[in-house]
Symmetry: C2
Subunit: 99 residues, 2 copies
DNA sequence: TTTTTAGTTCGATATTTATCGAATTAGAAT
DNA sequence: ATTCTAATTCGATAAATATCGAACTAAAAA
C-alpha cells in the first residue's frame, strides 16, 4: 500500500515536471516544429525558424531533454533534437496528434 | 493561412494555460481524487482528504475552473466540483486513464 | 594557427506562483 | 438576531521561471 502510494507520488513528480515543460508557448512551438518536420533539428535551425535567441533556445532544449520529451544526438559541436515518442505515449497518449 | 496560424496560436494559449493548471502536484491530486471518486466533491471535502488549507484549495479550484478542466455546481454556499471531460478529451485525450 | 561556428553558462531582471492565516461574504440553522 | 458553515479574497512571502546579451568552450574550417 505504502509502496503504491509512493509510486503514485513519484509518478506525479514526473507528471508535474512534464506539464511544466509543456506549459510554455515557445516549447510547444518547438515540439510542433519537430513533430511536423518529422526529422531532427538543430538549435540554430529552431532558433531561426521561431525567432528566439540561441541562449533561450538552448535553455528550452535542455528543459525538454531533462524531462525526457526529447532526444539529443550529437555530431561534433552540433546537437540534433528529436521527439522522444515513448514519453509522450506513456504520459500523454494522443497528445501529439492534437497539435 | 494567417487565419490558421493565429488559430494555432490561440490554441497554444489555451494549451499553455491547461498545462500550467496541470503542472502542480496538488492540482493533480485533486484531479485524481475527482476522477477516482467518480462524483462531485466540495472544497472542504477535498481539503480534508488532501490535507491542504481551505484557502489553498479554493485557489486551486479556481485555477482548474478557469481553464475549463472542471465544472462547478452550486447549492447554497456549497460548491460541488467535477471534471469537465470534454476539455480533457479535446486537449489531452487518454490522459485521465493514465492516472 | 587564426577564425568561424554551435551551443552552453552566467548575471541580471521581471514576472509568475503556491502557500498560509486572517478577514470577509453569504447563506443556513438555531 | 445570533451563530455556524462554506468558500473567497487579501496581504505577505518565498520560490521558480523566461528572457537576453555577454562571456565562454570546443570543434571545424581556413
Amino acid at each position: 500500500m505504502d509502496i503504491e502510494i509512493s509510486q503514485q507520488h513519484q509518478d506525479d513528480q514526473q507528471r508535474v515536471a512534464i506539464f511544466k515543460a509543456l506549459a510554455d508557448a515557445n516549447r510547444l512551438r518547438i515540439i510542433r516544429v519537430l513533430y511536423q518536420a518529422q526529422r531532427e533539428m538543430t538549435c540554430s535551425e529552431v532558433g531561426a525558424q521561431l525567432n528566439i535567441s540561441k541562449s533561450t533556445v538552448s535553455y528550452h532544449f535542455k528543459a525538454l531533454r531533462l524531462v525526457g520529451l526529447t532526444n539529443t544526438r550529437q555530431v561534433a559541436q552540433t546537437k540534433y533534437l528529436s521527439l522522444q515518442f515513448t514519453t509522450f505515449e506513456r504520459y500523454l497518449p494522443g497528445f501529439l496528434a492534437t497539435l
